[in-house]
Symmetry: C2
C-alpha cells in the first residue's frame, strides 16, 4: 500500500522567505492507523481509472438493441448492500485497493441504467454524451473550479463569456449588453428567470413579499403543456398556484397566440396583474415550439416579461437549418437551454440568457451590508474590477457550482460546433421521416406534426373500439418497457394515453423505426 | 478515422418477433459529410481518456506548495479563443481527433484552477475529492442514470435509501419514517426545506401565495452569520427580505439561544408569525455550530420548523469522535449536508434529511390533474408501487439530476466510511492544534475557538495601531493570494477584516501552519 504521496517530501516550492518550518514527517504515516490515506492516493486513481476506462470502452462498443431491465428495488438494495465492504473500521484498506469490487460496481451500474447508447432507447430526452465531455467531467471532478467566482473558476467564467458571445451572434444580440449564466438544470433556470421577472415587474416584492400590487393579483401565464418545473414556480415563489393563467393550445399543441392575447386581456380586466408569460420551445410532451414572435408582440405591448423555456429545442440556435424554428426568441426577455439535452454534454448544464444583462442581477439582489458580520464578504469583494465583471456570483442561485460550461466549450473548441448542429439536423430529419412513415400506416395514428425530435403516436389495430385505444397504448408501453428491445415513453394528452418516441441517438435510423412498428404490432397481438 | 461503431452492423439483439426491418446501412456514413459522427465515437473516448488519465496522474503526484495564479480575464479569454479549432463547418475532424489540443486544454484548466491538492491551499471549503469518486463521475457522465425516477436511475434511488439508513442509524431516527433526498447544492436544499416549512406551517401559501396569515406576518429567523444562500430565501419564496428576524450571536459566533428565545417572543408580540428557524452547523465564516439542542427546544415549544444548514459540518455525524458536536440535530425537522464538502466527493451532492418523511412531499406539492394534457404523466404514474416508493421525483426540485449519491455510496462500499471519518478527525484535530499554536504567538490573535476545521485570525505585528489592523489583513490576503505559496481567505466580522484558514487537505500539518506564519510575517514586513 505504499504510495509516492505518502513518502517524506519537503514542500519543494516553498519560498525562502517562508523560513525553515518543521517539515512534515510523512513517513510516520505509513503505520497501520494511517491506511485511510490510501483512499485519497494517486495510486488509487491509476487503478480505478484503468478499470473504468476499460469498462466504458466496452460499453461504447456494445451494439445490442435493448430496453431497460427493471429490477425489484428490494432485491437491488440487497445486492448493493452485499457489494459494500465489510471491513471493520481501522482494518480497512489493509488488503489494498479493491479494483475487483470497483469493477463489479461499474457492471451493476451499467446493468441497472437506461441504455441511452442503444438504438432501442427512444424513451426520453437523454442522450449518450460526447465522450470527450464525459472524460473532461472527470478532470473537473478531480480538480474543482467552483465556477461562481472568478478567483476559483477562471477558465469557466471566461468560457461563459465565449459561449454567450457565440449564441448572441446567432440571434443578433449585443454581447456587451446581454448576459448568460450557467446553472444546474432548467428547473433552476426557469425559477431564476421568473424571480428576476417578478422582482423587475412587481416592485417591492423582493423586500416586502409577493402580495397584491396596485395593478392586481400577481399572475403568471403559461401554456397548458408547460413543463411541471415551470407550472409549480408560482407556488414556490409565493405567487400561489391559484394565480396561474393557463393559455390554450392550438392543434399542434403550441400556445395559440390569438387565444392567449384574449385570455390575458380578460384576466387583466378581472384584476389580475399578468407580469410574466412563459413559453416553451419545445414542450416536453410533444416538442412543440410556441409562436414566439407573436407572444413577444403581446408581451411587449402589455409590458409583460417573456421567458422561453427552450430547455430542449434552444439548441436549434446552433444550426442554420433549424434556427428559423425559433424565430422571435431574440425578442424574449430571457430564455434557457439545457446543454445536457440537445448539446450532448453531461448533466447538469443549463444556459440562462437575458436580453438585458442588467436584469440578471435582479433575481437575487443582495446587499452585503445587510448583515453585521457580512458573511458573504469572503466572496463578494467591494471592489468592482475586471475579474468580478467576469463572474456570475451575484446572478447565480448556486454558491458552489460545477464548471459545467467547460464541457460545452471543450466540444466547441475540439471539434467545432458543427458536430452538434449536424447531429441535431439528423435527428430532426429522422423525426420528420418517422412522422411521414407512421402517417401512412393504416394501423398507426400520429398526434401532431413534429416541431422537434419528439413524436407522439398511437397504435390502432383494425377493429379496436375507440374506448380501448388508450388502454392498449398503456399496455404496449408496459410490455415494451419490461420485455421489449425498444423503450418508448407514454404521455397523457387531452385524456388520451399515447406513445412517445424521442429521437436522441444518431445511430437510430428508419430501419429501427420500422423494427419498432413491427415490435408494437407483435406485442399488440399478444396483448390481444 | 474509421470506427467500429460506424461499420455496418445488424441490430444483433433484435427479437425475432421484430420482423425483418430494413437494416440500417451504416457503411454509407463513412463519406466525408458524416465526419461529425467521429466526435461521438468510442475511439474518441479511448484517445481522450488516455490523455486525461495521464494528466490527472501527474497532477495528483505534484508536490508544490502553491497559491493561485490569477490571470487577466481578457488575456485568458484570448488564450481560450486561440485554442478553439478553426476548422470550417463540414471540414472538421478530417484530420482525426486532436488529442494534442485536448492536452493543452487540460493543461490550461489545471493552470488556471485553484490548487486544492496543494498544502498551500487553505482558502475555502473545497477539497480534492476521493479519486475513485472522480473516476466514477466519468462513468455516470457517459452513461446517465437521471436519478429522479426509479425507472431511469435504479441504483441511484437504491443508494439514496442505503445512505439514508446509515445516517438515520447514527442519530437514532427511524429509517422507515424519516426521508432523505439528494439535490444539487445546499442552496437548493435550504430553499427546498424552507418551502416545505412554509407550506407546512402557513396553510394555503402554496395555493394562494405567501401573504399574511391570521397569525401575523410570515417571518423566518436566521443567525446573523447565516450563509447568504439562506438569508436570501425569504426574498425568493415570496416572504420578503424585510421579514427576516436576525438572531444575535454569542462570543463563539453561535446563535445565542437565550437571546434567540427572547427575540422570537418579542417578534411574535409585534404580530410576526415566526414559522421557521434556520440554524448553522457550521457557519461559513468561522465554522460555528449553533446550539441545536436549545434551538430545538425553543422551536418545538413554539411550533416552529427547525432547519439546520449543516452543509459543512453535518459530515461530523459519520465520526463517533466528533458527532457529539451536533447534539440536538436529531430534533430538527430537516437538515442538509454537502457531500461535496466534508465527504470529499465531487460537487454537487447535497443530502437533505426530513425527520418526518411525509413532509418531504410538501415542498413542491403537485397534482398531475392540474393540467388538461397532464404534461407530467410521462413521469408520474398514478400507480403507487414498489418502484415509485423508492424514487424522489415528487420531492425533488430538479427533474433531471445527476446520480451524485452514487459517488458517496461507492466510497462507502469500496473503503468503508471510516476513511471519511478519519480524515474529518484529522482535520478537526489539526485546526485545534493550529488554534492553540496561534493563540500563543505574541503577534497573532485568534478570533474564535474553532467548532469545525475553519480558523479565523489576525496578524498584529508589535506596535501596529488598532485602526490599521484590518487594512493590514486585507493587504496580506491580497499579497498572499497573488504572490504567496499559501492561499488563505478573508472574512469581515463585526466590521473587522480577518484572515481565514480552512483546513480541507489532510496532507497539511503543523509544519505548513508554521510556514504560513513565517510567510505572513515576511509579507507584513514587506508591506511595511
Amino acid at each position: 500500500v505504499s504510495d509516492k504521496r505518502l513518502a517524506a517530501v519537503a514542500p519543494s516550492g516553498m519560498s525562502p522567505s517562508g523560513g525553515a518550518p518543521n517539515l512534515p514527517d510523512h513517513s510516520q504515516r505509513e503505520s497501520a492507523g494511517e491506511d485511510w490515506r490510501n483512499a485519497f492516493s494517486a495510486t488509487s486513481f491509476d487503478q480505478f481509472a484503468a478499470v473504468a476506462v476499460d469498462k466504458i470502452g466496452e460499453l461504447l462498443r456494445r451494439q445490442a438493441v435493448e430496453g431497460v431491465t427493471l429490477e425489484d428495488p428490494a432485491a437491488l438494495m440487497a445486492e448493493a448492500r452485499a457489494l459494500m465492504t465489510t471491513n471493520e473500521p481501522g482494518a480497512s484498506l489493509e488488503s489494498g485497493l479493491d479494483t475487483e469490487r470497483f469493477a463489479r460496481i461499474v457492471d451493476l451500474y451499467f446493468r441497472t441504467g437506461i441504455k441511452v447508447g442503444s438504438t432501442g432507447y427512444m424513451a426520453r430526452q437523454f442522450s449518450r454524451v460526447i465522450p470527450a465531455a464525459a472524460v473532461f467531467d472527470m478532470v473537473t471532478a478531480i480538480a474543482p473550479q467552483p465556477a461562481t467566482f472568478y478567483e476559483a473558476g477562471q477558465l469557466a467564467n471566461v468560457a461563459d463569456k465565449i459561449i454567450c458571445q457565440e449564441f448572441a451572434r446567432r440571434i443578433s444580440w449585443n454581447h456587451e449588453t446581454c448576459d448568460m449564466i450557467t446553472t444546474s438544470g432548467a428547473s433552476l433556470a426557469n425559477l431564476t428567470a421568473i424571480v428576476a421577472a417578478r422582482n423587475d415587474r412587481l416592485s417591492g416584492s423582493w423586500a416586502a413579499g409577493a402580495a397584491s400590487t396596485a395593478r392586481g393579483i400577481p399572475t403568471i401565464a403559461v401554456g397548458e403543456d408547460a413543463h411541471y418545473s415551470v407550472s409549480r414556480v408560482p407556488g414556490i415563489i409565493g405567487i400561489g398556484q391559484d394565480n396561474i393563467l393557463k393559455l390554450p393550445l392550438n392543434g399542434r399543441r403550441q400556445i395559440c397566440a390569438l387565444s392567449a392575447a384574449a385570455a390575458i386581456e380578460a384576466a387583466r380586466a378581472k384584476g389580475r396583474d399578468v407580469f410574466c408569460i412563459v413559453a416553451s420551445a419545445g414542450s416536453t410532451s410533444v416538442g412543440a415550439i410556441d409562436p414566439l414572435e407573436e407572444l413577444a408582440e403581446i408581451a411587449q405591448a402589455a409590458g409583460i416579461w417573456l421567458h422561453v423555456d427552450a430547455a430542449h429545442s434552444g439548441a436549434f440556435l446552433l444550426s442554420d437549418k433549424v434556427r428559423p424554428r425559433l424565430r422571435g426568441i431574440e425578442r424574449a426577455d430571457s430564455f434557457c437551454v439545457d446543454a445536457h439535452k440537445m448539446l450532448f454534454v453531461p448533466s447538469l448544464c443549463t444556459l440562462l440568457f437575458y436580453r438585458d444583462g442588467a436584469k440578471a442581477r435582479g433575481a437575487f439582489s443582495q446587499q452585503a451590508s445587510d448583515f453585521a458580520s457580512n458573511p458573504a464578504s469572503y466572496v463578494f469583494d467591494d471592489r468592482e474590477d475586471a475579474m468580478s465583471r467576469f463572474e456570475s456570483g451575484g446572478k447565480n442561485f448556486e454558491c458552489t457550482k460545477r464548471p459545467a460550461i467547460l464541457n460545452l466549450w471543450l466540444v466547441w473548441a475540439l471539434f467545432g460546433v458543427d458536430v452538434i448542429a449536424q447531429k441535431i439536423e439528423y435527428l430532426v430529419d429522422l423525426t420528420w421521416e418517422a412522422y411521414r412513415y407512421l402517417s401512412l400506416l393504416p394501423d398507426f395514428a400520429v398526434i401532431h406534426e413534429p416541431d422537434s425530435n419528439i413524436l407522439c403516436f398511437e397504435h390502432r389495430p383494425h377493429g379496436l373500439p375507440d374506448g380501448r385505444v388508450s388502454a392498449l397504448q398503456r399496455a404496449l408501453w408496459d410490455r415494451l418497457r419490461t420485455e421489449g428491445k425498444f423503450f418508448v415513453s407514454k404521455v397523457d394528452i387531452d385524456g388520451r394515453t399515447v406513445l412517445r418516441a424521442v429521437f436522441m441517438n444518431h445511430e437510430i435510423d428508419m430501419g429501427h423505426v420500422k423494427a419498432l412498428v413491427a415490435e408494437i404490432r407483435h406485442a399488440a397481438g399478444e396483448i390481444g
